[in-house]
Subunit: 298 residues, 2 copies
């Protein structure tokens, strides 16, 4: 939050290296997912992205699936990308949506939150509160964070998260149940909790309801840009912070930044320029929406 | 199911290589999780387990977290263990509980279900039915299977899965919503669907309710043995198959097989003997329970 305040915008850059979209200067041969050279190409591409993001965003969010897709060389690339981001002073939120019970949850927490790995991890709450505890404990020990899926940005979020239960929705019941964990993880310096929530930009009304239930939880907001939500929608669950500027989490953009329209066949310099412009545009949009203050509907 | 019928029992051997429990003959140095030699030791241990399981069980279930815990060398070990299991004629159900949306779910499905990786994968349904579709499509293409978490074995399963919604529980609403996917994946040869469900042995009454909703879905049943459920509990959701024997899925046991009591300090031969006995005991218990037919309560 301190970095977001200093930058004046909550943009988080998602590192989703879709193989078929990686620009020509970074490609290697046929980009066969089974070939170790492909993972090396993905790593080079991601590090080039990181080089452009220094001092421009507070947080980057590598998407584990795109690395896992490449087998163990992909996981080696993911570790290298995480290390490169941290060397560049960028916080790393690993989007892996892990979740399991007992010692298995502990193994996932040790894998990604212990030691020098990610600063924070996304987790899936379907298995219940006891399944979250090892992640929260590991985050507390490493001064990291955990972001629990609450209301995801996809249409299918309705199927289970949107079921009615006792006059509310399942995602609201979950948010209520998370209150003690959120409170436990509040950092006195910023007033925000390092137990965060994933709340999609595509559901602004629901974001406001979750915010009312959990005023101190940071939101990771996916769905801005490529999934059709506006900057205003993305900040629906934010609240006025210092200077009246809206704050309350980070807003992710992946494809629109990494693969800017019109730069598909650009050379390295052309792609860098397009990426810089896309980052500046998204940061500017979000900064402006944060300055405007709460939407009239809230 | 054909292999389970031939063996006469539904035992699935879980490969959960807890570092601190790996027997002395397989250990390497201090078993530091950050050292590549540790992943090699884990691989050797798992392959030794596989060698004892040939023709004894139909399916093995590696737990991804314990490999991921070891960084990319752990993922390399996981790939080697999966390949070794398939070479030995064992089906591989990877327990990774992955879940995401759109192209990200597709990346996880490609990672584990495409080509020569696992025969089946566990997935988490919190993101909704659209998030399951890429996994089901990949399984159809590879003649593999998908097991959706429905009612997990841990106490916290109550928190979200057990919420009331419209007179039923969330896990029952989910089971109902899965019906079209289950039907779509029924294999004519056995009558069972390759869209399966995770239903914990610790909730026998709930297992019967899920079975009533989805008569053709295979169950992966965790919680037998170490988590306290009996063989009878584990088969609560099974139904009479050919010859009147109960069938309907596979029952997992991990720790009780891999780390049998009393063999903690055994040499390799002693550990092998203890493992063989533990496998024979669990298989025998489950075979007997399957022969007894439905419990009176069902």
């Amino acid at each position: 939050m301190e970095r977001v305040r200093a930058l004046g915008h909550p943009l988080c850059a998602g590192l989703d290296p879709h193989l078929e979209r990686i620009p020509p200067p970074f490609r290697s041969g046929s980009m066969d997912p089974g070939h170790p050279a492909t993972a090396e190409a993905v790593e080079r591409f991601c590090v080039a992205v990181l080089d452009r993001l220094v001092d421009k965003v507070a947080v980057v969010k590598p998407q584990a699936a795109f690395f896992e897709r490449l087998g163990w060389p992909g996981m080696r690339a993911l570790e290298a990308v995480i290390a490169a981001a941290r060397e560049r002073g960028l916080l790393v939120l690993l989007d892996a949506k892990r979740g399991d019970i007992g010692s298995t949850a502990q193994a996932y927490a040790d894998a990604w939150l212990a030691g020098d790995r990610a600063d924070a991890l996304t987790v899936n709450p379907y298995l219940g509160l006891d399944s979250l505890e090892p992640f929260v404990k590991a985050a507390e020990a490493s001064h990291g964070g955990v972001f629990v899926l609450v209301r995801t940005s996809n249409p299918g979020a309705r199927d289970l998260q949107g079921l009615r239960s006792d006059g509310r929705r399942v995602f609201e019941r979950l948010a209520e149940a998370l209150a003690p964990l959120v409170e436990r993880c509040v950092a006195p310096r910023t007033g925000w909790s390092s137990l965060g929530l994933v709340v999609g930009a595509t559901w602004p009304e629901e974001s406001r309801r979750v915010r009312a239930l959990l005023p101190r939880a940071l939101f990771l907001v996916p769905g801005y840009g490529a999934q059709g939500a506006s900057a205003r929608d993305a900040l629906a669950g934010f609240a006025a912070g210092p200077g009246g500027r809206l704050e309350g989490g980070i807003v992710n953009s992946s494809r629109a930044l990494l693969f800017p329209a019109g730069a598909e066949d650009a050379d390295a310099a052309g792609w860098e320029r397009a990426l810089d412009e896309a980052v500046a545009r998204a940061a500017g949009e979000l900064a402006a929406a944060a300055q405007e203050g709460p939407a009239s509907g809230s």
